[in-house]
Structures are given as C-alpha cells and as structure tokens.
Amino acid sequence: MFKSMRVTALAAALMAATSLTAVAEVVYHRGNTADPETLDQHKTSTTYEAHILRDLYEGLVAYGADGKVIPGVATEWTISDDGTVYTFKLRDDAKWSNGDPVVAGDFVYSLRRIMTPDTGAKYANILYPIKNAEKVNKGELKPEEMGVKALDDHTLEISLEAPTPYFIEQLTHQTGLPVHPATVDAHGTDFVKPENIVTNGAFTLAEFVPNAHVKATKNPHFHDADNVNVDTIFFYPTEDRGAALRRFQAGELHTNNDAPTEQVAFMKENLGDQFRVAPYLGTYYYALNHEDEALSNPEVRQALSMAIDREFLADEIWGSTMVAGYSFVPPGIGNYGEPAFADYKDMPQIDREEKAIELLEKAGFSESNPLKLTINYNTSENHKNTAVAIADMWKPLGVEISMLNTDTKTHYAMLRDRQDFDVARAGWIGDYSDPQNFLFMVESDNTGFNYARYENPEYDALMDKAAGTIDLEKRAEILKQAEEMFMRDLPFIPLMYYGSMNLVSDKVSGFEDNLLNVHPTRFISISE
C-alpha cells in the first residue's frame, strides 16, 4: 500500500513540476496569523489585515521592504511653515485594477468615507489629526467640512488641526488606503467581494474563503508591475502555530509571520536563518490601578517594578523572543532618541531586590503583613507563566498574589468598563513609529487606554506642549521628559519589548526584518 502511494505521490510531484515550468507562475504561499475580519480597509484594525490590504492597495505613502516610508501614489509632498497644511503631488501613472486613473478625488472620497459615522470604521480615530475629522466622525459636522481638498486631479491638500510630525507615518496605516469610489457607490458594502473589487495596489483580490485562504493576483495596471516578481499570493490563516511550523517544514508555506514560542530551541537548531527574530515596535506591560489604596503609593509601585527580573522573563519564559524592557517607549522608534530607561536598569538583580524590600517595608508591608494583589491576564500559556514568575519575584517583598485569567474579550471589556482590578496584563504594538503613539495612552483624558487611571496635569501639559512643537528635536526632548515622568510615576510597569518572529524559507528574498514587521509582497521574490 505504501509503495503504491509513493508512486502516486511521485507522479503527482512530477506533474506539478512540469506544469510549473510550462506556466512559470510564481506563487507565494504566505502564512498570516488569522483571517481578516473584513477586506474593507476602513473597517479594519489588525496587523494581519494590514498585510493583505497593503498588497491590494497603495496609499499616498507606502512602506519599503525595510519598513521605511516611501512615496506611494504621492511622489512628493510639501508641508506649510506652520506644519498644518500638506500638499501632495500624485503620480500620473497610478491606475486602478480596472484601468481608471487614481486621482486626488479618490482620496477625498475615501477620507470622507472613513470618517462618516455610518461607515462604522473602528479605527477612524487614527486620522483625527485631519482638520474637523473628529467632529465629522462624531456626527457633529458634515463629511464635506473635513480638511481634505482635491486642488486638481493630481494635487491633494490635507489640512490638519495642529502640526503633527507623525502625520506621514499615520498615512501608512491601512485606514489611509483609498477605495474606488464608483465601485463603492455601485455595490455598497459588497464592494469587497472578489467579483466587484477594484484595487490600486500591486495585487488584486481573486478569492476569499474564510478559514481557508485569501488569494490575490498581480494587478497588471500597477505602476511598478514590471518589478513585481510574485504572480499569485495565497494568505493562509495560520491560527495553529505548531501546524504552521509543520507546513513550513514540509515546504507548503514560504513564510509565516508567527512561530510556536515553546519550540524556539528546536527552530533555532533546525531551521537556522529561516527562523527570524527581530525587534518589534511594541511593549508588554502590567497596568497598575492608581485608584487602589496600596498602589497609589509611588514607592510601592517602584518597588514592584524594581523587583522584576526582566531578563529572566524575556529569555527563559519567552525563549528570547522578547527583550527585557526598562522603558515604555521601545528603542529604535522614529522621532526620538534613546528612551527614558529606569535608573535601576544596570543595577544587579540582588541589589534591586534588597532596595525593593526596603521600600515596601517603609510602606508597611512585609512577609508577616503581606500586600495582597490580584494579577488579571487574558488566557494564554505564556501570559500565565509570566504572571507566575512575577508572583514569585514579588514574594520576598511580602507581596501575596492571586491570579485571575479570562478570555481576551472579557479581559479588555473589564479594563474598558473600569472594573476594579489591581494589576492587569496588556500589550501595545505601535500603529506608527513615533513616541506619541505610546505616551498618549496615559493622558488623563484617554479613558480608553489609561487603564491605570493615571492623572497628572504636569504629564498632560508636557504632552500638549509636545503636540504644539514643530521642531522635531525640541519635541523629542519634551516627550522624553514626559517618559521620565512616566517611569517615575509608573502607571504601567513596562516588562518587555516585543520581538517579531517570522519563518522565512531560503527560497524567499526581499523579506527584510524591520521594526514595524511590514513585508510588502511587491518587494518579495521567490526562486524555485
């Protein structure tokens, strides 16, 4: 039985090989965490949706293979002296997949669409720097009153509420991608169906079968189509990371954007350079409830932070796929220098523990009179291991930990509804490479993200001052002051910087590691 099966397999392989040489179609099998919730760029929010949408559409600006911003539909742009008016020159050869030219009016239409409340765009707030955008999104103004104007077919003017040095970075987010107005008008929400969709990126949608694949084929009208090597991409939702690894090993996947953490040692040994870990723009942290009686004492918070052996967490629990984090803003971020590290970063762990014990004793807690805290986390093996390790590190300080884990939705609903908690796990991956995208989380009016309920007028004032500063160096200084304050007051205890894990076959080139973990398919080529 086995023999005959082997013969059939061989025949099948032979047939596959001959058909490949005949057509010479380059097919890229790409593992991509999960299915998109939708392919309507204005309604999406996750990074795995971004990977697909970035291939289907091209915004005013785009990402290069190295994760740096490159011109997209806009070839150049000028910024007014006060930093509030951006004028984009659009390229002449930009076309939609049906042959229509991409014009400035398409971007006006798209930006108005995402802000229209009826669209139900989950991530519209990322584009709030645009003049009147927030008011439109809240239904206070008409979409026509937004600060977006087409001066002619190839000139687009965007006015902002205030100077926003990271505005160009923000436009790289999938919410800034254009839709084809005629198609949306004709088909409504069904414009995303493969039979209707019109895109302006290097690829266009061919199929979307939930839990199976998203198939995209090369767009012959794309202005740089000659330099695109891949003809067809299959995005597979690889929720089961172990299964994805096996598919990768069997050669069924060319790349996968995640890997099983529990098999890091195995992958390092057997996959060599095909297993890649790179710094990622994100921070894993514990939020501390500042309304809690014991935690409202800054020395208690410092002691808790000091006693955590972050190197142990990153290397032992996360298998070196994370990096010990001593600041909230991850290093390497744009428009910033070195982040404001905690001053005990280079202190030996034993000294830190002693100091922490001292601080907690001063606050009246010891092993005989323990500080009782609960750590809330969303269910996951590694979140649990992290919590257990931290509970163990806090034990000598006289901190008694109980743990509560719930599924992700419940966990974040708890944080959002401001229910009572002591310590809660959370993580933040930057939407764009700017420190503001991290530090804004604990502004006192940020009810959504300020899980700690941190309220410090000085901090808010610094953030406001930074928002009004056009000079990038001065702004970076102000933001660093804000982060120093953050590290002193500790609304969140930063624990680790995220790392990105990718499985990348030797056959793939153009897949460059970068801080934002973006890998546009148009720069990727595959050799057989």
């Binding site: 086995f2 099966m5 082997r6 397999a9 099948a12 299915d35 919730e37 939708t38 392919l39 309507d40 309604k43 929010s45 409340p117 009826d118 669209t119 139900g120 765009a121 989950k122 991530y123 519209a124 707030n125 999104n137 809240k138 239904g139 929400t189 995303v192 169906k193 979307f208 079968v209 939930p210 839990n211 199976a212 694949h213 597979y236 939702p237 690889t238 929720e239 089961d240 172990g242 299964a243 096996r246 598919r247 090993q249 069997a250 069924e252 719930t406 599924d407 992700t408 939705k409 419940t410 974040y412 609903a413 708890m414 959002r416 959370a426 009810t447 959504g448 993200f449």
Partner: protein
C-alpha cells in the same frame, strides 16, 4: 410510518425553539460584545455599529427580530466576518464538514465493524486482545495528539501527504483529516460490535441458523450481525451528528474551512449570529439523526414497528 415521521418532525419545532431561546440569552450573558477590541471604539462609532446590527434595541426586541429572520431561514449578518452573512459562511463550510464527516463515518463503520466482528469470532485469543488493545488506544489518544504526529511522520518526514490545507477537497488533502477523525470512532465501533456480536453469536436464532447448516457467512453476516449492529446504530446517531458538523481541532490543525471552527470563533469573538447559527445547525443534525436511528431500528429489528 409517515405519520410517525411527521409527528417527530413537528415535535422538533418546540425543541428547536427552546434551544434558540436559551442560547440567545446565554451568549448575551458573556461579558464584552462583538465590537470590544483592545483599542476601545469612539462612542459615536460604537453607537453606529450597534445601530447597524440592531444591538441598540432592547434585548427582547432583538430576540423577536432574530426569531423572525430565522423563521425565514436567514441567520443574519456575521459580526466578525463582516464581508459575509451567516448563510454565505455556512453554504461554503457545511458541505466540506459533511463530506469529511461522512467519509470518516463510513471508514469507521467499515473498519470498526470488520475489526469488531473479527475480534468477536476469535474471542479471548491473541487477535481479539490485539484489536481491543488497539481500540483502547484509539479512544484514549486525543486527536490533537494524533493529528500532529501523523502530519509530522507522513507529511514532514516522508513527504507523502500534504500537512495542511483543503485545496478544494483534493483526495490527498482529505486522507489525513479523515483518518484522524475516524480513528476514535473506529475504536468505539469495534468495541461495540465485538460486545454485541459475542452476545448475538450465543443467541437462539443464531444457534438455529447453525443447526440448519447455513454457511459461516450467512450465519455471521446475515443473522448475527443484523442484531449485533443495533447498539452501534444507536451510538452512531449522535456521533454522526457530531462528525458531520465538523471538528474544531481537526479543522484548525489541518487548515480546513469547515463549520466546526465557527463554533469556537463565534463564541470567542462574541459573534452572536454565528454562535446562534452553529447551535441551530448542530441541533437540527442531532434531531435529524436521532430520527434516522429510530427509523433504522424499525428496519433492522422486527420487534420495533411505528404503525
């Protein structure tokens, strides 16, 4: 007979109604909603989303709306897969799950039946012990262990079969999922068949058949097996309903776009309509297969009549 079937089908309606009602309110008790993300939504956007999906109306009103649409066999839009309606999702995934489940079921019935009969005929001999030991193993090793091991050996090391993917239901892609799905069923069917077969072989009518000098085949297959298969049939009713409505584990590990995963995805994403849809589909299958089992009984067992 027709009357009986009709009666059973009619009595399914209140059962389904109860199931729909209970699960509709149960899923709403779960904290969080379909639009809760790590990044909270603007109040106005949330309001609009709630309006689009009628979540802003009172719960009983939503319930009536849902009953109305479900009566027209419209399961509503998916909250998570926002480009699809539940009907579209099911139209794509249910046939795949049914194809997989049916193949596994047939495989389990044939292989399990043969193994069980062989074991019964060689009761308390090495062949019997081997088969029963294998069956015990088959039941005890969960499929989330079997599947990775099979894919590792046959897919990664030997490269004979694909490790995952559906590929439009190509034969090679179906082998491993079907085998994994069938293994525990084979074990159960073998055990059940062996037990009842041993009993049947000792019964009066089989002894009579032997006395008439019928061939071994006639005695075993026609006379003994017909009675012996009854417990298997009653086991297979609910088992078939479960198999045909997909398996989360198998579908996730092999990357198959079946209906089984929607149950879990729906619950975790608070995709109310998706959860409700899967509940209704599973309930229908259970009701249907129980009815089928009862009808099969009448066919196999002369003592059972529904007139």
């Amino acid at each position: 007979m027709h009357r009986y079937v009709l009666g059973r089908l009619l009595s399914a309606i209140p059962t389904l109604f109860l199931i729909v009602t209970i699960s509709f309110f149960l899923i709403r008790i779960a904290p969080g909603g379909p639009f809760d993300l790590e990044r909270p939504l603007e109040a106005k956007v949330m309001e609009n989303l709630n309006k689009i999906y009628h979540l802003d109306e009172p719960l009983w009103n939503q319930y009536l709306l849902y009953l109305k649409s479900i009566a027209q066999l419209d399961f509503g839009p998916s909250f998570y897969f926002r480009d699809f309606s539940i009907n579209e999702l099911f139209a794509q995934s249910l046939p795949i799950s049914m194809q997989l489940g049916l193949s596994a079921l047939c495989l389990a019935l044939v292989v399990g039946g043969i193994l069980g009969v062989s074991a019964a005929l060689r009761q308390n001999r090495p062949a019997d012990y081997t088969i029963m030991a294998a069956a015990t193993l088959g039941v005890t090793i969960p499929n989330f262990v079997v599947a990775p091991i099979l894919t590792l050996i046959l897919g990664v090391w030997l490269g004979w079969l694909p490790v995952g993917g559906w590929n439009g239901g190509a034969f090679v892609n179906v082998i491993l999922p079907v085998v994994t799905l069938a293994l525990p069923q084979i074990a159960v069917v073998a055990r059940l068949t062996r037990g009842s077969m041993i009993e049947a072989l000792r019964s009066n009518h089989v002894r009579t058949a032997r006395a008439y000098g019928l061939t071994g085949y006639m005695v075993v297959v026609v006379h003994a097996l017909r009675g012996a298969i009854l417990p298997v049939v009653s086991y297979l009713g609910p088992a078939a309903a479960a198999l045909l409505t997909g398996s989360v584990v198998i579908e996730t590990i092999f990357g198959i776009p079946g209906i089984g995963r929607y149950f879990v995805q729906g619950a975790l994403n608070r995709d109310y309509t998706l959860v409700m849809g899967t509940v209704v589909v599973v309930a229908c299958f259970v009701i249907l297969f129980n009815l089928l089992v009862d009808l099969l009984y009448a066919l196999l067992d002369p003592r059972v009549r529904y007139d």
